[in-house]
């Protein structure tokens, strides 16, 4: 005989056989549980399905409690939340593993590197590209130019060298293009909302791509003749062929993003007008103004802003330089400048940098290749004066520096060596010490004192309603492309939420992480990174030809197979991590002893069990016992030392039926089938 009671104010009809959990599920109300599974008898270990029933003094486990007519059940009272949240925090305070690989965690855009690398290994190139597109568009372009924080974090470097994570995505994108099967963006049905984006660089393009996917009508306005921003006008052809960029921008345009070039904010288009004509405006102006060094002689002819110089090149000019060129700065822009100077025919090219090579922010490979191309590095020197003749620079005075105490960034601060200077004759200077935003045409009320746009770092909203900002133009200032992309990705989500009427802040999800040491990988056979064929230094010195020819399919797959697959295999099905984020956990408050068992148990010929990820829900051994009729697994030890293990001696492990029902039942990544691991080893 069915009866009625309420859960969270919703009337539910229950049968006598129902539990609170089963009737809540029927009513579409989710009550978390880790240890409940219909195939097994009710167990009640996890304690996260607790609910409060009016008039019942104790909290009840929804998995077992039988409702009664007229029960008033609450699943979200503060008492319930505390008990559940504590359970998750306790579980996670002794949960060792990597929810996601360090590559993904270190990528500002949280690209699922492990996933696309795995897809490339399996030859699923289109899937790999789709995976990248979940995080950002432009894989072939970014794959070529990104300074790849992912590879910096890659644990394979503890074996020998990191995986070629960055270029592999460029490979996959090139590959499907070459195969005539290019990526096509799939968009939600139109919402009828309009968003204007000012600036068509990495941030603007990324935001446009996501907003279009969400179904909004998007228009990008850009002052340059073509879209691409810094990717087009800041990065030389030899690093990023513009044909590749054009192709990837076309994918976004084909998705229905309107692109308007050659219009400048405040001149051709009016900020207020854009605001009224659109439901939201995103400012992604970038940082296009070279910073000055504030030394005498900066206004001499022949002293150029580094980014201005590159921009002219991008616009198709071929600036003439003298024989001796000095580039000031140690970042990637400085490398682009010096290597471009070489290609334009300068005979002596100097990089003047006030610290040493160790502190240079530029990517190692850039520095190496610049050296190969004949660039001379003058470390521990700082320009203090440019001087000239007839208004044109002819030389510079350098202050000799030495390294002192570490500064806020942790790098040792360069300090002048009293009275020690050096003079070098030069014909041109390229200043590449940084860029800043130029926000002409933007309402001054949303600008910071430094001239960047002030926006909330979690919602990307400015103080003006419907105006958002992302990329180099915001508070944080200029950074690398993938950082601007990451901001745009989150800003697009925030704009979408805004357009749908609710404000949801971009939030970094909770992940379980762990530290590793090289010893852990001692048994791995060494397999060096694949070498990409390319031009020799001599071949590349006098032209802007792309340096690298890319991987062959075999090379790419071989490279991808080096991946250690650090991230948990069960991430997408893991109930624990989903609930952890649901309850916004902070396990650090219960920080204490953690299990870190050295050997992950191989429990049978087909199953491996990682006790450090086990939540002791008992599903594996209960399924084995009650569903399969074997008692292969069981619990050992007591209290904190309790763990799941085979109930039979090692030699009898073939007793396991190999049905993998335990693997399937496991709510976390603790139980796995063996082949995945063989692949990993």
């Amino acid at each position: 005989m069915s009866f009625v009671y309420t859960i969270d104010g919703v009337e539910v009809v229950a049968e006598p056989t129902d539990t609170i959990l089963s009737s809540a599920t029927k009513a579409g109300i989710e009550i978390p549980t880790l240890c409940f599974d219909e195939r097994t008898a009710i167990y009640g270990a996890c304690g996260v399905c607790l609910v409060e029933v009016e008039g019942v003094p104790k909290l009840l486990r929804a998995c077992s409690a039988r409702p009664q007519e007229g029960y008033v059940v609450h699943t979200n009272t503060p008492r319930v939340e505390r008990a559940r949240k504590t359970a998750f925090e306790l579980l996670l305070s002794d949960h060792t593993g990597d929810c996601r690989g360090p590559c993904k965690l270190n990528c500002p855009a949280m690209t699922d590197c492990q996933k696309y690398v795995g897809e490339i290994r399996e030859g699923r190139f289109k899937d790999a590209v789709s995976t990248v597109y979940e995080a950002f568009p432009l894989p072939a372009s970014i794959g070529r130019v990104c300074p790849h924080p992912c590879e910096d974090a890659c644990r394979r470097k503890m074996v020998e060298e990191p995986i070629s994570i960055a270029f592999l995505k460029a490979f996959a994108a090139d590959k499907i293009e070459a195969d005539g099967d290019p990526y096509v963006v799939e968009c939600e049905p139109s919402t009828g909302k309009h968003v204007a984006i000012i600036g068509g660089g990495p941030a603007g393009l990324t935001a446009a791509y996501f907003l279009r996917r969400y179904g909004h009508e998007v228009t990008i306005y850009d002052q340059q003749p073509k879209m691409g921003g810094m990717l087009r006008y800041g990065i030389p052809e030899y690093r990023l062929p513009k044909a590749v960029l054009d192709r990837e921008i076309a994918i976004i345009a084909n998705a229905g993003v309107k692109m308007v070039n050659g219009v400048k904010l405040g001149k051709d288009i009016d900020f207020d007008e854009l605001r009224t004509q659109n439901d939201a405006v995103l400012l992604a102006l970038g940082a296009w103004t070279s910073m000055n060094m504030h030394v005498p002689g900066e206004d001499l002819e022949g002293v150029h802003g580094g980014i201005d110089f590159l921009e002219r090149l991008g616009l198709g000019e071929r600036p003439t330089l003298g024989k001796r060129v000095a580039v000031c700065g140690g970042g990637n822009t400085a490398m682009d400048c010096c290597r471009t100077a070489v290609r334009l025919g300068a005979e002596e090219v100097y990089v003047v940098y006030r610290r040493t090579r160790n502190e240079m922010p530029a990517a190692d490979i850039e520095i190496e290749e610049a050296e190969e191309e004949g660039v001379t590095f003058k470390f521990l020197t700082n320009p203090i004066e440019f001087y000239g003749k007839d208004g044109h620079v002819t030389g510079m005075k350098l202050q000799v520096m030495e390294l002192g105490e570490p500064d806020a960034s942790g790098r040792r601060r360069p300090v002048p060596v009293e009275g020690k200077t050096e003079d070098i004759p030069i014909d041109d200077v390229l200043m590449a010490i940084g860029q800043r935003a130029n926000c002409e045409g933007v309402a001054s009320e949303i600008l910071t004192q430094r001239g960047t746009i002030a926006c909330d770092e979690m919602t990307f909203r400015t103080s003006m309603d419907n105006v958002f900002a992302a990329g180099d133009v915001t508070n944080r200032g200029a950074g690398i492309a993938i950082e601007a992309i990451a901001e745009a990705q989150k800003a697009a989500l925030c704009i979408n939420n805004y357009l749908e009427g609710d404000e949801v802040r971009a939030k970094v999800p909770y992940f379980v992480k762990r530290d590793v040491t090289p010893e852990e990988f001692e048994d791995r056979p060494k397999q060096k990174r694949e070498r990409m064929p390319g031009l020799t230094p001599e071949e590349r010195r006098n032209n802007f030809m792309p340096i690298y020819f890319g991987f062959t399919d075999e090379q790419a797959q071989r490279e991808a197979s080096r991946c250690l697959e650090c991230g948990c295999h069960d991430y997408y099905d893991c109930r624990l991590i989903r609930f952890a984020n649901w309850f916004d956990v902070d396990p650090s408050k219960f920080a204490g002893e953690m299990h870190e068992r050295e050997d992950k148990d191989v429990v049978s010929e087909v199953i491996i069990h990682d006790p450090d990820k086990c939540v002791l829900c008992g599903l594996c051994y209960r399924v084995c016992d009650q569903e399969v009729g074997k008692t292969f697994l069981g619990l050992y030890n007591r209290g904190f030392s309790t763990e799941v293990n085979p109930m039979v001696p090692k030699e009898a492990r073939s007793f396991c039926a190999g049905c993998l029902k335990c693997v399937e039942a496991c709510p976390t990544g603790a139980m796995r089938s063996f082949p995945a691991v063989q692949r990993r080893r």
């Binding site: 996260v48 579980l91 309790t642």
Partner: protein, 589 residues
């Protein structure tokens, strides 16, 4: 003339076995004698063991205490000559007699009186009268349960659930096709400091059997199981013999006393897990599984052992049953308070003058038990707190000494009646250390099944470990409280749900002591090793060198007859010096 040696585990541990052997040898040397030598169980006066009771020919009892093997000669001489004045030096003092005279014994009525290995002795003391009456008079199940109900008997294992209610539920539960129901006795006595169940089984096993028979009759069970912890070997031996004897006399087996009631009894030895004292974990263990609690409902009355209707009671509960039937429910209910009827046995231990088993009517105050019966605090120190209910209970401070012993009144203090452990503490006991001790116990004894208990008690223990090591942090108390309430709400069984009690009562009554550890890195009781320093007061020290000789690490230096000094860098804070000093010159801070 009869000489009876008290041979419970406690007496034997104190040397009763040697005394017995010597007496036996001496009596054996006599050609003929009218002196009988016998044994009995523990009478509860642990502080006076070994105890020898001498009954003269007039049946009068002369109780000899702290008897040594070498005292056997004089005892035999006195017994054989009839010159009992020889025993004056060994005879219990009038003061110590108060320990027993102020008690009212129901469950322990025959403990230390009868020979536990002799069924006739039990019968001679009115044993098996209750079950005989029930079966001969053909009392109905309900008539018997009704007496238990009138008596107001509540479970003596800790939770205090109504026994009559449980019996009725088990009686009314529909059995499966086998028709089987079970009656189980929980003798897995695990609370540190509690030993009344052991005393009953060792001292009066037949009363347990009789109580269980009555229970089995009431619920319609044909099989009884006693789950005894394996750490009680003597209890198991005596109970096994008692079962054998009762079976051979027709009190157990088919058609008991010619009726159509049949019931067998067997023993299951537990393997040492505290959690198996939890009824559903006990049932799992009985079934041969890992001892882990089951979810309730269903309760054991509906689906217990092998998922059949089962009733579980504690030893002390069953030990009251025959008395109630013999004397009537009203007689039992006449003792105690409104909600807590009858008597309760407490195991009085700690810094008390007279420790042992105490059975008193409910309604007495803690003060009466501790000071009148127990004789107060040892060594003239101050009473600080009494720990009730073991790992599931809490500490009750001096301000609550007049609390009446009653299930509800004790629960209101934050402690519980529990199984009756009563550990008395003086000013030298650190309450934080005490809470830590119990948490250490529960964390180790957690079965590992539910998250709140397995990990929650572990994390609480870690916080307490930090605090007693002087590494407590601001917010630790709040963190502990948060964990306590979450564990109480989330833990699956009684072990976990009550595990926070020792910590919560420490926070409630001794917060300043916790704060002193955290904020000032000081242990006011002078017990936490990491937080104390020993020193010698130069004015009081006479230079006797006793401390220096006891110091295991040679941290104490000084010339004879001149003040000594402790090198704090060498001192391991064992406290030997303090114990050794007869002048009170060693100080701890």
């Amino acid at each position: 003339m009869r000489i009876v040696v008290g041979e419970g585990s406690c007496g034997l541990a104190a040397g009763a076995g040697a005394v017995h052997k010597r007496l036996e040898a001496l009596l054996g040397e006599q050609d003929q004698t009218n002196v009988e030598l016998g044994i009995t169980g523990c009478n509860g006066m642990c502080f006076l063991e070994p105890i020898v009771d001498v009954y003269d020919d007039g049946g009068e009892l002369h109780r000899l205490v702290k008897v040594h093997e070498k005292d056997a000669d004089v005892i035999v001489k006195a017994a054989t000559t009839g010159d009992l004045a020889l025993l004056d030096d060994l005879t219990i003092s009038a003061e110590d007699e108060k320990f027993l005279t102020q008690q009212t014994r129901v469950a322990l009525r025959d403990c230390g009186v009868i020979d536990p290995e002799n069924i006739d002795d039990y019968i001679a003391h009115g044993g098996y009268k209750a079950i005989s009456k029930i079966l001969r008079e053909g009392l109905s199940q309900e008539e018997v349960i009704n007496q238990i109900d009138i008596a107001g008997l509540r479970g003596r294992g800790g939770a205090g659930f109504s026994t009559a209610f449980k019996w009725r539920a088990a009686r009314d539960a529909k059995p499966d096709e086998t028709g089987k129901k079970y009656l189980i006795c929980n003798a897995d006595e695990g609370d540190p400091g509690a030993f009344m169940d052991r005393a009953v089984i060792e001292g009066d096993p037949h009363t347990l059997i009789e109580g269980m028979l009555i229970g089995a009759y009431c619920i319609g069970a044909s099989e009884g199981i006693v789950y005894v912890r394996a750490e009680y070997p003597l209890a198991i031996v005596r109970l096994r013999k008692a079962i054998k004897d009762a079976t051979s006399r027709g009190y157990l087996g088919d058609n008991i006393l010619g009726s159509d009631f049949s019931c067998t009894l067997r023993i299951k030895a537990g393997a040492g897990a505290f959690v198996c004292g939890e009824e559903t974990a006990l049932i799992e263990s009985l079934e041969g599984k890992r001892g882990m609690p089951r979810l309730k409902p269903p309760f054991p009355a509906q689906a217990g052992y092998w998922l059949r209707p089962s009733n579980i009671n504690n030893v002390e509960t069953y030990a009251n049953v025959a008395w109630i039937i013999n004397n009537g429910g009203e007689a039992f209910a006449a003792m105690g308070t409104k909600d807590s009827k009858g008597t309760k046995v407490f195991a009085l231990t700690g810094k008390i003058v007279r420790g042992g088993l105490v059975e008193i009517p409910m309604g007495k105050t803690l003060r009466e038990v501790i000071f009148d019966i127990g004789g107060g605090i040892r060594g003239g120190k101050e009473f600080k707190a009494v720990q009730l209910g073991g790992p599931s209970g809490g500490c009750v401070p001096a301000s609550k000494l007049d609390t009446v012993i009653d299930y509800g009144e004790l629960a209101a203090t934050g402690a519980i009646m529990g199984s009756g452990g009563m550990v008395v503490m003086d000013e030298t006991t650190c309450m934080v250390g005490m809470a830590r001790f119990f948490l250490d116990f529960t964390a180790k004894e957690s079965c590992g099944k539910c998250v709140h208990c397995r990990l929650g008690t572990k994390r609480m223990l870690e916080i307490l470990d930090r605090i007693v090591a002087g590494k407590g942090e601001e917010g630790d108390i709040e963190k502990l409280e948060d964990l306590c309430y979450a564990i109480k709400d989330g833990a699956l069984c009684g072990l976990g749900q009550t595990a926070p009690n020792p910590v919560l009562t420490t926070i409630r009554y001794f917060r300043d002591e916790l704060e002193a550890h955290i904020d000032k890195h000081r242990c006011p009781a002078g017990e936490c090793r990491e937080l104390i320093t020993y020193s010698i007061d130069a004015d009081t020290c006479v230079g006797c060198t006793a401390c220096a000789r006891q110091c295991p690490v040679q941290a104490i230096s000084g010339e004879r007859r001149s003040p000594h000094k402790i090198d704090p860098t060498l001192c391991i804070k064992c406290g030997n010096c303090m114990t050794a000093c007869r002048f009170g010159a060693v100080k701890v801070q």
